[in-house]
């Protein structure tokens, strides 16, 4: 297989941009990535793009409408939708397009604008004899944070995780996010402030659940052999994996109403499988990783993901936070970008926050957030309906 490198990245600042068309957000971001790579849009041989959930028909074929304003060149465009894990799936398809030898220069891109507040239900136009579990859970009144709260409460019961431990995850993310000019929330939160924020889905408080944002990311990938033409700092894609759920997964996943757990199947099995596949592909293990970007959609997520990704034993992740090992400068910096906690979710695009961060870190261009001596970084991003993908990048 052809080895693959990242030669350019772009990331739109995260926030709310009602006055700016999403196509423009995407174009600005893509131009940033192209300039960073030193290539022209007309050099791009294939576009892999995230397909939006909230953007109606136009958003479904986001890649095509983006290319229309970018300037149509007739290249293959593939629109990918793997829920909030879409960016990881986009990266995987872009990676495979080059690894297979089909193309040498590929753009991976994603942009999204989020609705306000809790993500709402979406209409279904099919005729069906029974409502789907996803329709039902909205009818019953179960927004996404409830599912995370169920897992979180169980964890607290089993392992003695406290409210303060949950708050601490937000504190750490905020200390990183304040240093990131692309982040939406740039303020350091104290444990007290987090604990005093309104309860939303007990045990998760307002500041422990990530907001919903608008944002975009773009990545230019290249055949490693040809990357030297464009850059002296190619970042190597050591692994790009996608995984789905395993039968018997005990997780109260989004969406579920009846769960059929089987012995030996891990919580968020799709994430466990994706991480393992990535380590196998890269030929390394968690001990070789210098920093991690994980999907901190809520305060529960970092605790679960550090275990799922193999960085500690089950039930011990909160101890890493208590010992401050997860801060930049600690043993295993977690989300030096500031995480989704500092950016907010922008479903199709949020995984690109992670890709951008790892590339910047490995190029030693992360400024005040720089993880000293970082050589290998891993990202994992997760979505509804048991979607996950993992990415390992190295110098």
């Amino acid at each position: 297989m052809t080895r693959v490198a990242i030669i350019g990245v772009g990331l739109h600042p995260w926030g709310k941009f009602p006055e700016k068309p999403w196509t423009q957000i995407m174009v600005d971001t893509a131009r940033e990535a192209l300039a960073d790579a030193g290539v022209e849009w007309t050099d791009i041989q294939t576009l892999i793009a995230g397909s939006q959930i909230w953007g109606g028909r136009k958003g479904t074929y986001a890649g095509n409408y983006f290319a229309e304003v970018m300037g149509e060149t007739g290249i293959p465009i593939i629109n990918v939708n793997n829920a909030c894990a879409t960016a990881g799936a986009v990266m995987r398809v872009a990676y495979m397009t080059i690894a297979s030898g089909v193309a040498d220069l590929v753009m991976a891109a994603g942009v999204d604008k989020s609705p306000k507040g809790f993500f709402p239900s979406l209409p279904v136009y099919h005729q069906e004899p029974m409502p789907s579990v996803d329709t039902l859970r909205w009818n019953i009144g179960l927004p996404n944070p409830v599912f995370w709260a169920l897992e979180c409460r169980r964890r607290m019961e089993l392992y003695g995780v406290t409210d303060a431990d949950l708050a601490k995850t937000k504190v750490v993310m905020s200390k990183h996010g304040v240093l990131n000019p692309k982040a939406r929330y740039r303020k350091i939160f104290t444990e007290e402030e987090v604990l005093n924020s309104a309860m939303v889905a007990d045990p998760l408080r307002l500041y422990e659940i990530c907001a919903t944002s608008d944002g975009a990311g773009a990545v230019v990938l290249c055949n490693l052999q040809k990357a030297k033409k464009y850059t002296t700092k190619p970042i190597i894609v050591a692994a790009s994996s996608v995984a789905s759920g395993v039968y018997g997964d005990p997780t109260a996943r989004i969406p579920s109403l009846g769960i059929n757990p089987k012995p030996g199947v891990p919580i968020i099995s799709e994430s466990y499988v994706a991480a393992k596949a990535a380590y196998d592909q890269a030929g390394i293990g968690p001990e070789d990783i210098d920093f991690v970007e994980l999907p901190d959609n809520s305060a529960w997520h970092p605790l679960q993901y550090l275990e799922t990704m193999g960085f500690c034993k089950e039930g011990e992740s909160h101890l890493l936070f208590r010992k401050e090992e997860t801060l930049i400068g600690g043993k295993l910096p977690v989300c030096p970008s500031g995480g989704f906690s500092s950016f907010g979710e922008a479903t199709m695009a949020q995984g690109f926050v992670q890709v951008y961060e790892i590339v910047k870190q490995l190029r030693e261009e992360a400024g005040a957030r720089q993880v000293k001596g970082a050589k290998v970084g891993i990202a994992e991003v997760y979505g509804a309906a048991a979607n996950n993908s993992a990415l390992i990048l190295k110098k």
Binding site: G141, L150, R153, G258
Partner: protein
């Protein structure tokens, strides 16, 4: 005055009307697994025969985990006015399934993991047309 209608939150989910309503599920006679809501096939990838039947589930189970919603869920759910926090239960039943549903008849501070709960069917909320939406709920079993 128009009469309030009762609307099921979904068809084929529980026996209704009934004095002792039960959840309707699929049982696979081949591998023994249960599925809720019911399905036209067994979802076990290792099961070859997939001989399924419709069954009803045990009404009692133990609280596996819980949450309490302090923010009103978005439409189509219609929260009470004024809003009251909504406890949510994940209940492990003898068939091995964990069922998620609204909890009632308990104050948030009294919820304990491991407590025994019983299935009931009743009004989840009144929809925007004034109809009662009927669904399953869990209530604590008094010792």
């Amino acid at each position: 005055m128009t009469e309030k209608r009762q609307i099921l939150v979904g068809e084929g989910l529980f026996t209704w009307p009934s004095d002792k309503p039960k959840l309707i599920a699929t049982h696979c006679k081949s591998c023994g697994d249960y599925f809720f809501p019911k399905s036209f096939t067994c979802h076990n990838p290792k099961c070859k025969e997939k001989q399924v039947e419709e069954v009803t589930l045990s009404q009692r189970g133990k609280l596996w985990s819980y949450s309490v919603l302090y923010y009103p869920p978005p439409p189509p759910f219609v929260p009470r006015d004024p809003f009251e926090p909504i406890p949510i239960a994940e209940v492990e039943i003898p068939e091995g399934l964990k069922i998620i549903g609204m909890m009632e008849g308990i104050k948030p501070k009294d919820i304990k993991i491991g407590m025994t709960l019983e299935l009931t069917v009743g009004t989840l909320y009144t929809d925007k047309n004034g109809n009662d939406v009927i669904g399953w709920k869990f209530t604590p079993v008094k010792a």
